[in-house]
Every structure is written in C-alpha cells, then in structure tokens.
C-alpha cells in the first residue's frame, strides 16, 4: 500500500469512532496517532484489499464476493486536521477468498504507517 496523493481541504469530517478497538477486534480501519503513538482519531473502513462485491441474479442472494482481476486499486480517506497528530496509520485485513485454508483465514492485518509531515509536503 502506498500513498499516492493528499490534499488539505476545508470540510467537515465524519465523527470519530472508539479510539481503541475492543480486544480481539479484527478488520480494517485507519487512525491518526500522536507523538506518543496514542490514537487520536479512528474510523472503520471497508477492507481495501478484499475481493470485490458483485451483484447476482438469484433471488435472495443478490450479492457475493469475487476475486478482483484488477491488479492495483485505489481508495481514499478523509482525515481531520488534529493538533498533535503525527502519524496516519492504516490497518488492513489481508485479502481472503472462500478457497483460503485455515492459516490464511487466521492471518492478521497488516499495518501501514505514514508520517503526517511527509504527507503535508505532498499535499496539493
């Protein structure tokens, strides 16, 4: 996962969710962290690495997940400008399919960290 671009904007951001997820929580979310590595903003996001969802024809099972044959996909997040925030962190579950074995199903999320000062330098 790499940061492609950033932009500083005057806009309302969504309210934060619980800053620290409950123990044994797994999934995908992003955080802002302060100098002491404490979360100061957090929101759950759709897993950016999950297979894509597609509509189906059968009644009662209108949706399902499939493997995405596109190699690279982009997503975006809106993060607040919080004084004291130093890092932008993305937790992302690994991609899983119905063919995965137990070991792959149990694989933990990867964490991607970005320094906010570097992001600001790249801001448009």
């Amino acid at each position: 996962m790499k940061l492609v671009s950033s932009q500083r904007l005057n806009m309302v951001v969504p309210p934060p969710q619980a800053l620290v997820p409950k123990r044994d929580t797994r999934g995908s979310w992003f955080e802002l962290r302060d100098r002491e590595d404490r979360p100061v903003y957090r929101r759950t996001i759709d897993n950016p690495q999950q297979g894509m969802e597609v509509v189906a024809d059968g009644p009662g099972d209108a949706l399902r997940r499939i493997d995405d044959d596109r190699g690279v996909r982009a997503f975006f997040v809106i993060v607040p400008d919080i004084a004291g925030a130093r890092k932008f962190v993305v937790h992302a579950e690994p991609r899983r399919t119905s063919r995965d074995d137990a070991a792959k199903m149990a694989a933990t999320a990867a964490t991607y960290e970005f320094d906010l000062s570097d992001i600001d330098k790249g801001a448009q």
């Binding site: 309302v12 995908s28 597609v54 024809d57 099972d61 997940r65 044959d69 996909r73 975006f76 119905s98």
Partner: protein, 408 residues
C-alpha cells in the same frame, strides 16, 4: 482508451443544501454517456437522488447532503461487454473504461476507479463519496472505494431490479464502514468449508458480531427475549429461511453473517447490507445517522415537502411520544412496548407520511397508537376509558395482522 475517449464537462449540484465545506458531498459520475445523452444522465442522477431520500435514515438527513452530478461525455455509449462472459463483444470508447466481466463474471461491472477519484477530486474537492452510473441496459455493478452500477432495469433472468439499490448498499461499505450481513462468500452451495465457521475474532464493523448477545455492539437496541434469535442448526449449510420473515425493526442476533454460516451474528433478519431492496436494519441506520449528524444544518425546512394534512397526523404521534416516550402494541393479549424513537420510527413516519401506501394493519396500528396517546389526556374518566377500550380493541385487532414475532 480512457481520458482520450471523452471530455469532462463539469460538475452540477443537483441537490443543494449549502456550502460544500459544511455538508456531506455525494458525487454521481457519468460513464458511457455520449454528450447527446447527458440529458439522460441528468435524469438518472435525479432518479438516484429521489431514491436515496426515500431510504431511512437518509430521509432524516436530507438537508445534510449535497448531491452533485459530474457530467462526463464519452465518445461512445455503454461499457465493454466481452464475449468471453456471454456478452455482445462490444468495446465502446468511454472515459473511465467501464467493462463487464471482471473476474470472469459478466455482471461484475468495473471501471478505472483511480481515474474516477482523481477526476472527482479535481471538480468537487470536498467530496465524501463518488459513485459511477454506467449508461448500459446490461445488468451489472460492483463495490469498492467507488461504487459502480449500470442503469439496467432488468437482470439477466428478466426480473425487475432497482439499480439504485446497488449504489446505496455500496455506500454502506465505502462511506459508513458497514459489513456485509450475508452468510456466504461466493454463494450458498458454492463456498468451501472455510465459510462454515467464523473466526474467534470480533469484526471491526458495527453491524456484525461474534457475540450471541451482541455485547458492546447493539445490545442496547435488542427488543427480543430469545438470544440468539436464530441459530443455524447445520453449519455446513447457509441458515434456513424463516417464514414469515421477522420485520426489520425486530432487533436480536441472527446467526449467519459476515460471509459465514455460523459463529457470526447480524442484528435483524433482513437488512440492505444483506439483501438489496430491504431497509437498513436499526444498527446500520444508527451508524449512518451518527455519521451524518455533523453535516446537518441547525435548521432544515422544505416548503415543497410540507403537507399540512399529513403533518397533523405526524404531530399527533409526536405529541404522544413527548407525553410518555412510547406506545404499546397488544399481541396475543400481551402488551408490547414500542419505542417510536427506535427502529420502528421510520415505519411509523413513512406510514404517516404516506398512509395509503402502508398496509392496513400498519396504518391501523399507528392510528391506534396515536389515539391511545391522545385518549390518555381526556380529563373525564368515563370518556377516557371508553376511548381507550375502543383504541385497544383496534390495536389488538391490527397488531394480530402484523407478522408474528417475539418481542420483549
């Protein structure tokens, strides 16, 4: 291909609730429309906006949302439809390179989502969501950071579909961080054993849990006495259908969710995050409501939506709610409390706003609730008791026609 195959005309705000710096900004992007077809795109975008505001809780946040359409003229109409997937083999030149057949499935309609995001950011920088509408009669759509749907009105079986449902469901993922509530990955009978049992880890999304009591998730919204409300007796299979289906305002824990047959629970039997065409369940509605509340203006009033004859009825309900905060439905002789600020609220309001669209049982139940509230204010004991007796007879009769379910 791509940007060489069309022109970005510009963004038009079709639902204007104020400064984009203060509102939630949803951008609908045209793909596969020739310049001469952008009038159709305008109609399609308006059709979507009308549909969105008919879905709870977006109806309650109508003034929080700006909707934009991004007019993009492609050189040709439609989307690539590879013959390998049973398509026509068409390869029109379109701006965002929309194509069916992703992953070998014809319905899997995708486009260049990176180009969509950069194009939207250039024209509506303060956007919160971008959704692509593809000008094609072939049924298809997919989710991701950018939702994509064709404008087909029939699926490949010839059944009527509402393409707007695809986009609203995908907004549930991409904006509000909601999980899928269905209990298969690729389909019942298709999945392998990895979908039989959920892992021991709690999902981060608010609308699925491994706790049969929904502890820490939606336990405060549960209004049934039996938990789990539905268990799956055979984890090698998808959970069996319940007949009749419990209505969406019945909140409990239903086993089978988050792509697995067992070990994960969803809040209601149905929800838009499980089946298109259903309302969002109470838990998803709460999540969306909490998300959109910061975008609400201090005051929201639309003259074009004011109908005094309906407002009187709604005010009657409100008056009762203010008096004692709830109502009662009698089922099988037992009083069942209903919190009109809870999951039932939208059914109540929808039925009051459009009484002739509501089922007779729902309409009579609501009238009964309102009358019950009002009768409690009558000062004469004799008249109050007379009114209450008649009202409760109406309620009992009407409630008996509502689907059977167990409520605390």
């Amino acid at each position: 291909m791509g940007v060489a195959d069309g022109t970005v005309i510009g963004a038009v705000k079709i639902v204007d609730n104020g400064d984009p710096a203060e509102r939630f900004n949803l951008v609908l992007v045209a793909e596969g429309y020739r310049e001469s077809e952008l009038g159709k795109f305008a109609e399609d975008a308006q059709h979507f906006a009308n549909g969105l505001f008919g879905v709870a809780p977006f109806d309650d946040h109508r003034c929080a949302i700006n909707i934009w359409r991004l007019d993009v003229a492609s050189d040709e109409s439609g989307a690539d439809d590879p013959a390998a997937c049973g398509g026509t083999g068409a390869t029109p030149d379109t701006y965002f390179d929309a194509r069916f057949c992703n992953g070998g499935i014809r319905r899997a309609l995708v486009c260049d989502s990176s180009l969509v995001l950069s194009t939207v950011a250039a024209h509506v920088p303060q956007f919160h969501s971008a959704q692509v509408i593809v000008n094609s009669d072939v049924y298809g759509g997919t989710g991701g950071s950018v939702g994509v749907s064709s404008t087909a009105t029939k699926n490949s079986l010839g059944n009527d579909i509402d393409w707007r449902e695809i986009i609203i469901h995908e907004m549930g993922h991409s904006i509000f961080g909601l999980a899928d509530e269905y209990f298969y990955y690729a389909g019942c009978g298709i999945d392998g054993p990895s979908q039989n049992q959920h892992s021991d880890f709690e999902p981060s999304q608010p609308n699925v849990t491994i706790s049969p009591t929904a502890t820490g998730k939606w336990d405060d919204l549960i209004n049934v006495s039996t938990l789990p409300t539905q268990s799956n007796p055979n984890c090698s299979q998808c959970p069996p259908d319940l007949v009749p289906e419990p209505p969406n305002f019945v909140v409990g824990t239903y086993e089978g969710a988050h792509y697995t047959h067992c070990g994960a629970y969803r809040p209601s039997y149905n929800c838009k995050m499980r089946v298109l065409g259903e309302p969002f369940c109470a838990v998803c509605q709460r999540e969306i409501h909490e998300f959109l509340t910061p975008f609400d203006p201090d005051f929201c009033f639309k003259f074009d939506r004011l109908d005094l004859s309906r407002w009187v009825a709604v005010a009657t309900i409100l008056f009762g709610v203010i008096q004692d905060g709830g109502g009662v439905i009698i089922v099988g002789g037992k009083p069942i409390p209903i919190d009109p600020w809870g999951p039932l609220r939208h059914s109540l309001w929808a039925a009051m706003a459009n009484p002739h669209d509501a089922s007779p049982a729902m309409r009579d139940t609501i009238v009964g609730l309102a009358m019950d509230h009002l009768s409690s204010l009558v000062s004469s004991d004799a008249h109050r008791k007379q009114l209450q007796t008649q009202t409760r007879a109406l309620l009992e009769e009407a409630a008996a026609e509502l689907p059977a379910y167990v409520i605390r």
